[in-house]
Symmetry: C2
Subunit: 309 residues, 2 copies
Amino acid sequence: MAMPGMAYFEGRYVPIQDAKLSILEPAITKSDIVFDVVSTWDRVFFRLEDHLDRFENSYKHVKIKPPVSRDEMRTISAELVDRSGLDNSCVYMCATRGLYAGGAAFGDPRNAVNGFYAYVVPYYWVIPKEHAETGGHLWIASVRRAPSEAINQKVKNFNRMDLTAGQFEALEHGADAPILLSTTGKLTEGPGFNVWIVRGKKLLTPGKDLLEGVTRKTVFELAQESGFEPVATELTADDLLEAKEVFISSTAGGVLPITRVNDQAVGNGAPGITTGQLQKRYWEKRKRGWHGTPVDSLLVSRREKVPAE
Amino acid sequence: MAMPGMAYFEGRYVPIQDAKLSILEPAITKSDIVFDVVSTWDRVFFRLEDHLDRFENSYKHVKIKPPVSRDEMRTISAELVDRSGLDNSCVYMCATRGLYAGGAAFGDPRNAVNGFYAYVVPYYWVIPKEHAETGGHLWIASVRRAPSEAINQKVKNFNRMDLTAGQFEALEHGADAPILLSTTGKLTEGPGFNVWIVRGKKLLTPGKDLLEGVTRKTVFELAQESGFEPVATELTADDLLEAKEVFISSTAGGVLPITRVNDQAVGNGAPGITTGQLQKRYWEKRKRGWHGTPVDSLLVSRREKVPAE
C-alpha cells in the first residue's frame, strides 16, 4: 500500500517512501538537521511566513545554507500539498548539513554540501484525536528537557532523546504524552506542543528551554482578543498539578484540552470552558482565512496561467 | 568513485552508498537510534566484547530490541571488515527504533519495528592525523554538553547538536576540536573523545555527563600497569588551562597528545612524555593482540571450514 504523502527530494517530487538519506548523512550521525512544520486546512496554509521565519532562524543558527530560496520553499510546500491531494496536511521542511567534501562521512562541517528536502503527510493530532476531543492525559516525566545552553531549543531540531524517553514514561503510565521539566525543575514542553495553565483571566505558559511554538504565539493573540492575559513565566510541576484548567497548543491539532495530569483529574475532569472558547475561535478564524495563504495562490502552474500585464 | 566501505543493511551486505534510511525514520525525525563503534587494526578487533556490552546497554536503555543476536553482530562486523578489504577500520553498529506499525511516521514507539544496521569505514583519527602526531589543539566551547538527566550520555547516541555547535566554535578559532563544559561548569568531553590531564603520577579525567569511552577504560588499565593513578573526578576549564600535560582518548586514534588549549600552549608546547609512553604502550599491546579478536576467527566462511569433531 502506498503511504499517503509526497516528498520533494534531491530536486524532484517523489512518492514519500522513495525519499531516503544515506546512513552516512550527518542528519543521522549527528542529528545535524533542522526543520519546521506548517499545516494546511482545506488547502490553506496557516501562518506560513511565521514558519518560514522560524525555519530561517533555525538554519542560520546552525550555519546551514539551504540550496533553495525562501520563495522556492513556498512553491515547493504548495506543490507538495497539491500533488499529494491532501487538503488537510502537515508539511515538513528540513535543512541538512549534508555529506562532507567528496561525499565523505567525516570532515570539516564548514565544507559540507548543505541540503534541503520537504514532505507532506496527512494532518495529524499531537495526541490521539479521540483524546484531543474529550481531554488528553499528560505525564510529568522524570527525564529532564535538555537546556538551551546545550541544545538551543528555539532552534527546531530532532535531538529528541529526552522527549522520547519521556514519551515511554507517559505511555507506560497510560498517559497520552509527557511534559518535561527543565534541569532546574521548571515546566518546559512536551514532544511537539507547549503547555498552558488557565488561572482566572491569566493564561500561563513556560518561557524557557522550549520551542516557541507558532500555535503558542497564536494563543497569545487569541487570548488578548478574548480579554485574557497571556503570560510566559516560570512554572513548576506543582503549578500544573494544582491547575483548575490546562490545555496544550500545537501545529498538530491547534488548542487541545488536558483533563488529567499524572494520576489526577484536572478541575472536574472535563475540558475547560476557556480552552473550548480558544479552540472554537482558533478554528473559526482559521476557516475564515486568518493568517492564511491559499495553496492555490502559490502553485507555479496556476501562477503561470495569470496573464502578464 | 565508489566510497570505501561496506554496509550490512536490511539483512544484506551492500556498498555503503546504497544503504539509505527513509526520511520518515525516527532515527532522523527524533534521533531515535543508538550506536557503537569498534576498531580493527591489521584485521584484529580491539575490545569487541566491551563495545558489544556498551551497545547492549545503550539499546536496552532506550528500549530498542535489535532484530539480530549478539553473535550475529560479531559475525556481521567481521564479514564487513573482510568484504571491505579494510585491514584498519572502524565498524559502526546501529540500533534503530524503526517505523511504526504499518510503516507510519507517527505512532506508539512501543509498536515500532526496531532495526539494526552496521557499516565499516577506513580507520580514522578523531583529530586530523598530522595534528594527532605533533599535538592537537582543543577549544573550550561556550556551548554546554547536554546533561545526563536529559540526554543520558552513557548511552551512545547521535543527539549531537551541542557537540556540533562546539565544533564550529573550535574550527572558527583555528582549533581541531572542542571540549565542552557541563551546565554546572565541569569538563565533560569532546565529539568522540575523552580528555585527560597529567598531574604528577595522577591521570585525571572527568566522570560525569559523558560517554565512558572504551579507550578511556583502556587508559585506566594502561595507567595502572605503568605506575600511574587514574582518577575520574570533577575538573574545570581552569584545570585544563593550567595543566602541564593533556591528552585525549578515542577509539579513533587511541591516545593522542594535546599541545594547545584555547590561545595558549600546554606545558612547553610539545607532546608530553607520559602521553608518549601511554601511546607507545597502547599500540604495542594492541599489535601483540591485547584484548584482540581476529576478524578471521569470526568469519562464517572460515568457521565453516573447521571440521566438526
